[in-house]
């Protein structure tokens, strides 16, 4: 166990050392041309990348939210048989809270693509 750890330590640090050696020992000659972003050797055409709308993030966030909330159904299904009436009440409240979030997102227009 400890030998394995040492192997990782030695080779890991060796790798980091080699990368750092390049930084420390290598000569550093820069000029403005060299600092420019690489664009297949041709002169650079525009200053910055155009901004583009990211609408998909909202869908991603909502998907993540409801997906993770659904994960809690699995443990519920596992113990469902032992505590039948109580389990229904608990899941009812859980789904009500989910619905509140859903209605909120809907009314705020999170599901509308063109806005």
């Amino acid at each position: 166990m400890i030998e394995l750890f040492l192997v990782f330590l030695i080779f890991g640090s060796l790798g980091i050392l080699l990368i750092l050696m390049n930084k420390i020992l290598g000569p550093r000659k820069t000029n403005p041309k060299k600092e420019k972003p690489f664009e297949c050797g041709s002169p650079y055409l525009q200053d910055k990348v155009n901004t583009l709308p990211i609408k998909y993030y909202l869908v991603a966030v909502l998907f993540l939210l409801f997906d993770i909330e659904v994960v809690f159904f699995f443990p519920w299904a596992m113990i469902f048989r032992e505590m039948q009436p109580k389990a229904f009440i608990i899941m009812f409240f859980y789904i009500v809270i989910l619905l509140v979030g859903f209605v909120y997102a809907w009314k705020k227009g999170a599901f509308e693509w063109e806005r």
Binding site: Y104, K107, K108
Partner: protein, 478 residues
């Protein structure tokens, strides 16, 4: 006694916040001011239910949450904080274009997080409450969408806060690893008996302490506080300076009450806390000297007050700790509401220069602000004096004389920056005209209530001390 009825105060707040969230999307823009009053109604209902559980000592959800007197006392502190914050933000949100209806829902979510935090002795439940509190706070900090500094403070608070939470969970994992339990009592007993895992236990405690130290802005972890406090909308800053602090110290109280009593070899943790307390007081007070922005001054002052509260934790005197928290609540809300009073449409007056001549131009605001500043500095006959007196005398009785000497010296330093604001208000000619929006009855109600309480706690603290003693009965006895 285990009863589902005891969950009613918490459920009231949660249902209230969900209701406000739904109501917000169905109300049109003109009617949004109702949301504030509705949230206040929920707070009042919750307060009445809370007080009816006094001296009954319930617990619920299989004993993971307690509704003992201590919890109820901290519930009331949290409810008062949130109630005052809502009252002072009613007009502010309109004036500063931060009137998104989610404010009230979020602040009630934060309240429910605080309520979970103060009523639990289980690390996981405490973490749940802490995250509920923190996530609402991150959003609230960036509530002035058009202000760059507000967004900056939100992102800073979010990134640093998530790191602190990661440390906290890492520490909890260590503590769970050695004791196979998340209950505070079991963990402390294991730390006492187990000799082989001393280092892991120490690391776990240290990491948990770092996580909580971040939330209540103790010295090595205080860096976020001034920037976040400055950028956040002022009512939210008011909430930050009291809410997380009160909840964090409630957890400290429950934990260290067990810890000091059951562990003989707690010297390392004791000196760690000692150093943290001293650093907090010194850094908070010295850094406040150089600030010219009122919100930054009050931010550093709240860091320094965290240090005095740590002295009370070290002195193992929880009566003085809770008394200090109550007084701190009233004087800090008072001071911040005076800052909010000096604002108009889309403009807040936050620099020290703006305050020159305020005392004669707006006599009520000036006089009330002066009272709160005197109280923060610790002058008799205000509550701030008695709070400091109780904490320091308890520390002396415990034999912590060097600590008390340092605290008193830092208090002396703090007098300079508190009184400098008063000097600006009364002894300087105004630089430029400060025209504030005056029709704000809720704000003045808060200020007068706070000034009443500051004097009442300073002159006649007997009744509140009785309540605190009754609350402390519910701590486990050793």
């Amino acid at each position: 006694m285990n009863s589902i009825m005891a969950a009613v105060p918490l459920l009231t707040v949660v249902v209230g916040s969900l209701f406000l969230l739904i109501l917000e999307v169905f109300l049109n823009r003109e009617n949004k001011s109702y949301l504030g009053y509705i949230s206040l109604t929920f707070l009042v209902i919750c307060g009445i239910i809370c007080t009816s559980f006094w001296n009954k000592d319930y617990s619920y959800f299989n004993g993971s949450l307690h509704l003992d007197n201590l919890s109820i006392f901290f519930y009331i502190i949290s409810l008062l904080t949130i109630g005052f914050v809502i009252l002072i933000s009613l007009k502010y949100l309109f004036l500063q274009e931060a009137n998104h209806g989610e404010f009230f829902a979020l602040i009630l979510f934060a309240l429910s997080g605080m309520m979970i935090m103060v009523s639990s002795t289980d690390l996981l439940i405490i973490f749940l409450g802490l995250e509920l509190l923190s996530i609402s706070s991150y959003i609230l900090a960036g509530f002035r969408l058009k202000d760059v500094r507000s967004s900056e403070s939100a992102i800073k608070y979010f990134l640093l806060g998530s790191f602190a939470s990661a440390f906290l969970v890492f520490g909890m994992a260590f503590l769970f690893g050695i004791s196979h339990s998340t209950s505070l009592l079991a963990i402390v007993q294991h730390l006492q008996s187990g000799t082989s895992f001393k280092l892991i236990g120490f690391m776990g405690l240290g990491l948990v302490l770092a996580g909580f130290g971040f939330k209540i802005a103790l010295a090595p972890f205080h860096m976020w506080a001034p920037d976040v406090y400055e950028g956040a909308p002022t009512p939210v800053t008011t909430f930050f300076s009291i809410g997380p602090k009160a909840a964090g110290f409630a957890v400290f109280l429950r934990f260290f009450h067990i810890y000091w009593h059951s562990l003989e070899s707690s010297q390392a943790i004791f000196w760690l806390l000692w150093v943290i307390a001293v650093l907090t007081m010194i850094i908070g007070n010295l850094a406040a000297l150089r600030q010219t922005n009122i919100k930054r001054i009050l931010a550093y002052s709240s860091i320094a007050h965290g240090g005095y509260l740590m002295v009370a934790v070290l002195a193992q005197d929880y009566t003085s700790l809770m008394f200090y928290l109550v007084v701190y609540l009233f004087m800090n809300i008072g001071a911040f509401s005076a800052v909010i009073a000096l604002s108009k449409k889309n403009k807040e007056f936050l620099e020290l220069d703006d305050y020159s001549g305020i005392g004669f131009q707006y006599p009520w605001i000036g006089a009330l602000f002066s009272v709160f500043l005197f109280s923060l500095a610790g002058f008799p006959p205000t509550g701030g004096f008695l709070a400091k007196f109780y904490v320091f005398s308890a520390a002396v009785r415990q034999g912590l004389v060097p600590l008390v000497i340092i605290s008193v010296l830092t208090c002396l330093v703090s007098v300079f920056y508190y009184l400098r604001i008063i000097v600006y208000m009364y002894m300087k000619e105004p630089f430029h005209t400060v025209d504030v929006y005056k029709e704000n009855p809720a704000l003045f109600l808060v200020m007068f209530l706070c000034v009443y309480e500051v004097f009442q706690l300073g002159i006649n603290p007997g009744s509140i001390l009785v309540l605190i003693r009754q609350a402390l009965i519910s701590l486990p006895v050793f």
